[in-house]
Symmetry: C2
């Protein structure tokens, strides 16, 4: 994956394609790469993303697509939907970009006198939604050890962790995780000021803040935002803010304009197989399979609906 | 750390400062933040970075400072020093930026007919330097569990891992790790095409490729490079390459122009205490200390020599 040059990269990729084209019959247990497994996944292994959970964020670079997780943060998601329906974020900004940590966006002057008022249909105070019980929740266990939690895995495609003893379950902070910024009080977030993880998984945040979803597409428009010069990556200078053209719910758009995304089901055999192909790579370039994969290293495939 | 707004961020930071100013006497075991511990570290806890190991990479955004690790990759470091002394990289480019993975730089056409020749003093073939034995190596153990290796910790400030049974030791792929790109053959790297990790720690690369150092300062100039549209984040269009103005060894500069950097010794009590303060934060914002820290989440403090 890290060839010396562009030309070599092309060669490697072509070689991977050639392998796919000359794949042996099913009775030969040849190594299949994660990409090959995912490309061959049956339709039933894909889940449609609900348009009511799909948040579309348009910034100068392009469109960021986010899936909300009402199963974990129902009250916050309710507020976020109301804010999106009111197009409250339109014209606001990304005002923080801290290297190897997060970008944060919303109203740069939210706590000042000239803050943008929240729409009346938005709750001005919410309970913390740091974790939930495991009742009725399918948890697709990742068999790999984790230092931060008793067990890790996936809930409907979201990286998650739980305490097997109590069943307490929460969404994990991985690259692309979306959370609701708060002050010192646990219940001081309303879902208007949001952050996205752009660095090494800050799992120390788990169960300390409300996670509301994850980015499905367009991370590159957030991860490349120039880092802020002020403490915590803040951009004090409004000229350095990245404007938010619009944040809207896909369900608010005419059907013809709605992106139709699908995520690979984390309870599918294709997902289990693709994860194993990443855990123990035998694609020619890797000389020593790792024998392990970290929760936040597991790719979560997303595609446009065919 | 994730307050709702800029104003609140300022308030939090001020409050942290106030705590520092009113710190209780030494006989009171009050919580000290990692920042407070590092600020109070004695001079002896800091190590000067050897100018012969300090690589200075000037790109349009600013200067990236890299520490080379001859203890792990002596032959590659020898080549890299020779390339830097010849100013071989000057005018070449960052030609790859793959989201949540790496940037890669060197000669964009290295394997083509018009490749830039390597200086004669540079070895054209090197052995793989994926790992080494533990002889004579001080390994500062991190007591936290790790899924990828039997033991993790630090060697002279570099994140590392080892097999306690055999003593085999290697540098770990964390954010900011610098490695030497290779083709399919283990010994196909010469240190001319280099990559830096800009995403979630790709520990699956450990012991599959030669790690040569880590970025001490200026990661933000690499991590924000626009992602390449081609497979693996390649920028096929030369117009989208990020030019390298210069890569030089600090030891090649006049003494007055050499940056004088120091890293906190990973065998110091200050480092152990700062890591514990991150493992179990009690700074007012965190409501639930994690009780764990991952190797690649441990900050490795760097400063200008006082």
């Amino acid at each position: 994956m890290l060839p010396r040059t562009t030309a070599l990269a092309a060669a490697l990729l072509l070689s991977a394609c050639a392998t796919a084209q000359t794949a042996p019959a099913a009775d030969t247990p040849a190594f299949r790469s994660a990409g090959q497994i995912i490309a061959a996944a049956p339709e039933a292994d894909w889940r449609n993303v609900d348009a009511d959970n799909l948040l579309l964020m348009d910034v100068p670079g392009g469109r960021v697509m986010i899936e909300l997780a009402p199963a974990f943060a129902p009250r916050h998601v309710e507020n976020i939907r109301a804010l999106a329906r009111a197009r409250w974020w339109d014209g606001l900004a990304i005002y923080r970009s801290q290297d190897n940590f997060v970008v944060q966006f919303g109203d740069p002057v939210a706590d000042q006198a000239d803050a943008k008022p929240l729409p009346t249909e938005v709750a001005s105070r919410l309970p913390a939604e740091f974790e939930r019980d495991g009742d009725g929740l399918r948890f697709d266990v990742l068999p790999d050890m984790d230092g931060w939690a008793g067990q890790v895995g996936f809930v409907d495609g979201f990286p998650a962790a739980r305490e097997p003893g109590t069943g307490a379950t929460w969404m994990a902070h991985c690259y692309g995780t979306l959370g609701a910024g708060r002050g010192n009080e646990a219940d001081s977030s309303v879902g208007a000021e949001l952050y996205v993880v752009t660095g090494q998984s800050p799992r120390q945040l788990d169960r300390n803040i409300t996670v509301v979803g994850r980015v499905l597409k367009g991370m590159e428009y957030l991860s490349t935002v120039p880092r802020g010069p002020e403490p915590m990556g803040m951009h004090a200078d409004p000229a350095r803010h990245v404007p938010i053209h619009a944040i809207a719910l896909a369900s608010s758009l005419p059907a013809s304009e709605r992106p139709r995304l699908q995520v690979l089901r984390t309870d599918s055999q294709s997902f289990v197989d693709a994860t194993e192909a990443r855990r123990n790579r035998r694609d020619g370039w890797y000389l020593r399979p790792a024998g392990h994969i970290d929760l936040c290293n597991v790719p979560l495939p997303v595609r446009e609906a065919p």
